[in-house]
Every structure is written in C-alpha cells, then in structure tokens.
Symmetry: C2
C-alpha cells in the first residue's frame, strides 16, 4: 500500500513519463469501435452488461497502450454510473486495472457533502475498501470534489487522503460557458468568487504538503484565460492544477504553460475525447477500424508533443 504523499508520487510519475498529460476515460458505448461492439456479449446496446463489458474492454486496451506514455488516467464515474450497479462494478474494476498497469488513477467523481455523509463518500470513492466478499478494492489515488460546503465538505476527504497517501482536486474555476454565473460573482473586495475559493484551497492544502513543495490538495482549473491562469498560479504556489478539456473543450496550451515551473511541475493536463475517440478523427483516418488503438496511441504521442512544444516555447 502506497502511503507516500500523493503530490510526490504524481510528480515522480510525471518526471518518469516526461509529460504532464493525463488521459481522461469518458467512454460512450455508441462511440466505441465496431471492432469491439460487434463482439458477442458486447453487441447488444439494450443490455447494460453488454455496454459495460464493451466499455471495460475499450478502456483496458487504452490503458495498455497508454501506460508507459502518461503518468495517470482520470476515470469519469458518470459514464459508468449511467449503467447503474453494473457500471459502478466496472468502474471499480478499471481503477484496479489502471493501478496494476502502473498508472496513477484520478477518480473524477465530483462528490460533495458534509460531516458523516462526506465520510461515507470518502470511504466509497477514495479509500481502499476491504470486504471479505468483494475483496480488496484499491480506491483511486485521488478524486475530484466540490467546494460549495466549505471546510466541512472538504475535511473528511483530506483526512482520508492524509491517512492513505492520496489526494483531492477541488473544483475551483471551470471552463464551461456558464461557470462565471457563480464562480465570477464579484465579491465586496472586487475579486471574483473563485479567487476567494482559491484562498481557501491554499489554506486547506497546508497540512498535506509533499517533499516536492506541492500539496496533495489540488485544484481543478479550466484553461479559461491567460490572465486567470497566471493569477491563480501566483495565488496558489503550492497547488497542483488539474486542467481538463484540452482538445474537446478547446483550452489554449500556450496559456497553460504559465502554471508550470522550470522543472515542468505545477499541473496535469487532461485530454479525454480527443484521444480516446481519435479513430473517429479524420486526422487518423489512415488507421483501420481494427487498428483503433493505434490511432489512440498516435493521438497520445501527438498530444504529448503539442504540450511539450507549448511548454517549451513559453518557458520563463
């Protein structure tokens, strides 16, 4: 059982793979390659078992090609929860598979509650669990959580993280069009709300600092504007950012460069649909349907290069 600080483990994995790119697994049955969805036991979209088996097989093959090229995967639980308990079972299985393949795992579960209920969520979604009938289930190395409750909604998760060498990424500034409706409400001191949330995240992370100088309490920060990224980096010098949606959501890599230090540390950049569905991209049309996982691998390598180029160009 890993008990080393999560931030230290994540940065070590980034150094080893030489990229801050992490791979988002948001599988959608209808978009899977026919090489998978034509197989018996995976070809009936009216059966949850078929959908889930196909999604697991798809993610398993992606994990196999990705394992030596990225430090971590981010598995989005919503795409599994869609298939009720069968989906949750598959999600748990994939967390194990990714860990076994040597990847760190971020469970993108966005949970939030207070007190005893938050403790239950921490046990459900972050802690390792041991039941004699379910066996040992290693939870993910970190999860995403929502800050709306304040510290009471954070502490049960950070307590679990501290105990088990795990981490959390707290939603801070998201890049969806309406995010500003709440996150950018100007406070009395003229600063937008999210900058106040940033102050809280900085203080919440103090107790989980790694030897690397970063905390195991990270923040989800969309690549919205160059200025907001620069500002948040200054405000949060010890916080690792999880920057989602490069590719599909169209964030700007050059802007992201400002949150990294000279060692290439400071954030993970997540790409999901642009990579896992690369075989549907005309850029990779030369791969046949059977070669879909090679298209995924090529897309991982290409995205790594784009990130390396952007970070290199903009290095301070």
């Amino acid at each position: 059982m890993a008990t080393a600080n999560f931030a230290d483990r994540l940065l070590a994995a980034i150094d080893q793979r030489q990229t801050p790119l992490i791979l988002g697994l948001d599988p959608v049955y209808e978009k899977l390659p026919t090489a998978i969805t034509s197989r018996p036991g995976m070809n009936d979209s009216t059966r949850a078992a078929d959908c889930v088996s196909a999604m697991v097989e798809f993610c398993r093959q992606i994990i196999a090609v990705a394992a030596t090229h990225v430090p971590a995967v981010k598995i989005n639980s919503a795409y599994f929860e869609r298939y009720q308990w069968m989906g949750w079972q598959a999600y748990g299985r994939l967390v194990q598979e990714a860990r076994t393949a040597g990847l760190l795992v971020i469970g993108d579960v966005k949970r939030a509650d207070i007190g005893h209920t938050a403790e239950q969520y921490a046990a459900a979604t972050l802690a390792d669990s041991d039941f004699s009938d379910l066996g040992h289930l290693g939870g993910p190395d970190a999860i995403t959580i929502n800050p709306y409750f304040g510290l009471d909604g954070i502490k049960p998760f950070t307590d679990t993280a501290r105990k088990m060498g795990k981490g959390v990424f707290i939603l801070l500034r998201t890049s969806n069009p309406s995010a500003g409706e709440i996150q950018e409400i100007p406070a009395a001191d003229k600063r937008p709300l999210y900058q106040h949330v940033a102050d809280l995240i900085d203080s919440w992370g103090q107790g989980l600092m790694g030897a690397c100088g970063f905390s195991s309490v990270g923040a989800v920060v969309g690549a919205t504007t160059r200025d907001s990224l620069i500002h948040l980096r200054r405000a949060l010098p010890h916080t690792l950012f999880l920057i989602p949606g490069i590719g599909a959501q169209g964030g700007n890599l050059q802007d992201c460069a400002h949150v990294f230090d000279r060692a290439g540390h400071g954030a993970v950049i997540s790409a999901s649909r642009s990579i896992i569905f690369a075989y549907q991209d005309k850029k990779y049309a030369h791969f046949s349907d059977q070669q879909w996982s090679q298209a995924v691998l090529q897309s991982i390598l290409d995205t790594r290069s784009e990130i390396a180029a952007a970070l290199g160009e903009s290095s301070p």
Copy 2:
C-alpha cells in the same frame, strides 16, 4: 409513468398526508437494531452483502410504517455507495420499494458536472432506466444537485426533470458550520453569495412551474437563521425548499414556519437520524429491541406533531 409536474405531485402528497415532514434514510450498519443484525445473512459486518441486506431490510420496514404518514422519503446515496456496487444495487432497489409503497422519493445524491457528463449523471441518478437485463428501474422523483457550475451544470438535470415530471433541489444555503466560508462571501452589492445563487435558482425554475404555483426546481435551504429563511422566501416565492437536518442538526422549527404559506405549502422538512434511530433515544426506551420499528413510528408521529404545532403557532 408519472408525467405530472413534480411540484404538483409533491404538494398533493403533502396535502394527503397532512404534513411537510419527509423521512431521511441514512442507514448505518453499526447502528441497526440487533433484531436485524443478528439474522443469518445480515450478521457479518465484514461482508458487504450482509451489511447491505441488513440496511435494505431496515429501510424496508421503515418504509412500511412510514408510508401513510409522510409524503416522501429522501434516500442518501452515500450510505449505500459506501458498499460499492452492492450498495448501489441496494439503493436502486429501495427507490423502487418506496415508490411501490406510494411514497415520493428524493435521491440525495448531490451530483454536479457539465454538458455531456451531467447528462450521464441525470440518466444515472434521476431518469428511469430500461435495460433488458436490469429491467425497468424507476429513478427517484427528484434529486439534489450542486450549483457550482452555473446553468451548464443544471440544465441537463432540469431537461430530464421536465421530460419525466421529476424535480431537482439545488443546494443553496446549507447549515453546516463552515457553509458560510463560500456561501456567505459578501458580493460587491453587499449581498452574500447565496442570495445571488437564489436569484439564479429563481430564473432556472421558471420553465418548470406547476399548477400549484411552485416550480419543480427546488432549493436545499438549511434552517440557519430566521432572517435568512424570511429573506429567501421573499426572494424565491415559487421555490419549494428542502430543509434538512431537523433533529440531528438542530434547526429551529419555529423559524421554518416562515417559509410556509397559509395552505401549509412552501417546503418539505427532512428528519433522518432522529427518526430512523429513535430506538436508541432514551425517550423511546420503553420499546424493546424487537419493537424498534414502533419506536420509529412513534418518532414520526411525534415529529409530525412538533412540526404542526410550530407551523400553527407561527402562521401569519
């Protein structure tokens, strides 16, 4: 399939049961009566299957005694998710049981995300689902959701609610000690953040108005202070409040009276631990362990009376 407006259905159930009290189901294996946890198949706390079977049996008996006395149950998914996929399976089963018993069901899942991911969560936690192998699973009548993403995080849920005659309760002002860290940050116009969230909830609810004059987009509002409740009722004349934590969290019933109109409409008041674990309360010590469900029933009746008295005393 119910397609009538959720707010209309909820108020009809409140009128029929003559109380706004709803019952929160937050079962914890360790606190269940030995009459249940001594049974074979329910007595081994190291087995998820035993824990979950005991929790289902416990909730089933509570649903049976509560069904004619309260309009709805609020089932907290965290307490089930704790037991991984087995817990999720049990949660789904209890949603069905409560609906079959004639109760409305609020799934207390506090989900939040954006776009396609939020659509997956809406399908997972609010919509009815039909898979040929899992059968028809009627989702809850409403769920709780988190507003931090703004409209993008709300619309996939309200779209599902509109289509299926269901509802959502959006976290607005919670009553935990640290809630104010974010929810009460003063905005530039001097109003605390939660009042801005209230404005958004009012606008988001416009499209789901019932014949009753209330919207199917409700708000979770803790019984914090008399003034905040009065203010929120004025700001949100068409919003049903879900007021949690009466009893265990110690909200003041007299204060809650201010959010109800003369017809007794305006909110549901949820009590969880104070009722479901009533047999551990010395007030009900005269019930034997075998009679635990009678203690629960007595606590429901007592809580109904307390609410009726508080609303009667404070009626405008």
